[in-house]
Subunit: 213 residues, 2 copies
DNA sequence: CGTGCCGTTGACAGGCGTCAAGTACAGTGG
DNA sequence: CCACTGTACTTGACGCCTGTCAACGGCACG
């Protein structure tokens, strides 16, 4: 519904800054982050919109007892860090060497309207993820994760995971052991092939999607 | 960050229509729904913004195997149904007799910007819920649910649940039996008291919050 | 009073978390 | 060149939590 109004015909995720705002926005240049470096932390003052230029980002929250839930992964072109309230309730970290461009929302309050597609996209992803972690078994979650990663890397059947197992586990609400076992099961069923710890090859795409339900 | 720009000092959830849009919006009058009646269904064309006037709404998706996940409950003042794409991916149903006001987004495209606080609020709730269903045990989820319901009914320590057990279960990613058992455990610990199947009284508010971590 | 729905409780099995051991590999320093 | 170390990942054993199946009670309704 919104795409037809604000961003006709274009994927919401890949809006270049210039297309969205007409190029007259005060944007800082791309800044680079190393693996694990914090982009913003829970409790810090908010007020920026961030976009991944290259690399990847994990956004997570940690419960008082130390359990971590990764809320979302963001890749090239994705906007993140958009929220209500004046303080961040989550933490964003670079995965590998990552380039981030940020915009001050205080200095450019009118750009909120241009960010609506990005916010809706983030919202939609969060809802999608609620189904996965709320109602799917371990192997189904891992299957859904691989399908999502495949789709977000351009629909490739062979790709490398950006993140370690612990990130996958904390994204899916599982432990690293269960993720590992689920991958092994998928491999033994002939649905995927593993090429080293990070390399994934989807052999039976249809079977994988059937598992996602 | 956004509240200070678009809705200074007011709770995002309770923005009256008039305050947000200046009263010059083509809004249909409040329409009434009976218990279980569909407000919109998955697959239908989107293009409306909805607001709960009275009663309550559940928004859910159903997986191919029949498992249901309730994504959110909405109460008086809440906006819902906002999304990208032109077709609904979820279903919204009334819980009990419910009044809904809707606005056509096609006829009032400019109101999107006024809905940003509502979208961010929905997004924030979805993220919050990801933590609950991803990283908390059954009793912690139920505790978090009770705390949420208490907060959303105005911070009352004694309130009635709008929804049956199956809705609570499908919201929390549990079964009705586990929800029931968790409530019994909370009761036996003296943290809550149960007044009939729907009546909840929070006795030890602090202990309940400690469980939510 | 029978029927159906909702909720609770019990018995049991299975999936997943926990704990532990083992492998592969990159980096470091001798 | 190779031992040493730390990290990431896998695999196995075991136990608990929660899902499944079943029985039961309370209540509204016909």
């Amino acid at each position: 519904m919104l795409t037809s109004i604000l961003a006709p015909g274009s994927g919401i995720n890949v809006l270049p800054l210039e297309l969205t705002f007409g190029g007259d926005v005060e944007s800082k240049p791309t800044s680079s982050f190393v693996d694990g470096q914090s982009i913003y932390s829970s409790g810090e003052r908010a007020g920026q919109a961030y976009r991944v230029e290259f690399g990847a980002v994990r956004v997570y929250r940690v419960l008082a007892n130390g359990r971590r839930q990764i809320l979302a992964f963001h890749f090239g072109g994705d906007w993140f860090g958009l929220q209500n309230g004046d303080r961040h309730r989550s933490t964003a970290e670079a995965i590998g060497v990552t380039g981030i461009r940020s915009i001050s929302l205080q200095r450019n309050p009118y750009i909120w309207q241009g960010l609506m597609p990005a916010v809706l996209e983030n919202f939609s992803s969060a809802q999608e993820h609620q189904l996965v972690i709320g109602r799917q078994s371990a192997i189904e979650r891992v299957a859904a994760f691989l399908a999502e990663m495949s789709e977000r890397t351009g629909g490739l059947h062979r790709f490398e995971l950006f993140m370690p197992r612990v990130d996958v586990a904390d994204y899916l609400g599982l432990t690293i052991e269960t993720v590992s076992r689920s991958l092994t099961k998928l491999k033994n069923k002939g649905i995927i092939r593993l090429h080293g710890p990070r390399g994934i090859e989807i052999v039976q795409c249809r079977a994988l999607e059937d598992l996602c339900l």
